[in-house]
């Protein structure tokens, strides 16, 4: 129980840090940390497979994409960074206030675990569901990954001609 509460609070802080931190690289890292914490929450919610996926893909692959994209772009000069960070504080200070307000308003409600629609649905495991009844989604995934490959190759390649 206490572990769960701790988890929830740490996710809030991780998300807050991700949004408010100055450097882009730290924000990407913050995203990875948030993903990892959320994966743990998913494990606690009886969804191990989704948790594993979230951990490996989001905390791993997406962070890799971010970091590689960021490293391909040159960083700001020192002066620009300082000027930018002063402006940041002015823009971002409402966020923690809004978040605290939201938490106060909503912390009364909990997950309604009493809505159990079909008891026998708990017997299925994910592999069954994914392969048998949702194989169309798998097909969609294959196609979208194909499209993604095309997109990455086209967009990340250095173009030889100058427009």
């Amino acid at each position: 129980m206490i572990l769960d509460k701790l988890l929830l609070i740490s996710v809030v802080f991780a998300a807050l840090w991700t949004v408010m931190t100055r450097s882009l690289l730290k924000a990407a890292l913050g995203l990875a940390v948030t993903s990892a914490l959320i994966a743990v929450i998913l494990f606690r919610l009886d969804s191990p497979l989704a948790g594993v996926f979230e951990l490996s893909v989001c905390a791993g692959l997406i962070t890799a994409v971010f970091v590689s994209a960021i490293s391909l772009m040159k960083p700001l000069t020192h002066k620009e960074t300082i000027a930018l960070s002063r402006a940041r504080i002015k823009k971002y200070w409402p966020l923690p206030i809004i978040i605290s307000a939201v938490i106060l308003i909503f912390s009364a409600s909990t997950v309604p675990t009493s809505i159990r629609v079909l008891p026998e649905a708990m017997e299925q495991n994910v592999q069954n569901v994914l392969w048998n009844s949702r194989s169309l989604d798998l097909f969609g995934q294959i196609v979208i990954v194909l499209a993604g490959v095309f997109g990455t190759v086209i967009l990340f390649r250095e173009s030889n001609k100058k427009p």
Binding site: L42, F53, F66, I105, P119, G140
Partner: protein
């Protein structure tokens, strides 16, 4: 728990609306996606259909990776054209 989901939504939206840096928009979008992932799993947990919810979430994560990759590619190409990641670069088309 629901508070957490809403917090994530708010954080993500705020990030997208306030930032001037194109990559941060992507980060905000990612936060929103995490919020929806949690919402889906919570819905699955509450109705006892964890298997279905997990299948949905797995497909969703795959799709999101592709969208993020393409968006990062577009931002990278914009950077190569203009040399900066400022949002004022994408406000040129008017009318």
């Amino acid at each position: 728990m629901i508070a957490l989901i809403i917090v994530l939504f708010v954080a993500g939206l705020y990030c997208i609306l306030v930032t001037r840096n194109l990559m941060r928009v992507l980060i905000g979008l990612e936060l929103l996606t995490k919020a929806v992932t949690l919402l889906l799993i919570v819905a699955g947990y509450a109705t006892g259909r964890q298997a279905l919810a997990q299948a949905i979430v797995i497909t969703l994560i795959m799709i999101e990776v592709v969208v993020i990759a393409v968006m990062a590619g577009v931002i990278l190409s914009i950077f190569r054209h203009t040399g900066s990641l400022d949002a004022s670069n994408v406000k040129n088309l008017k009318g």
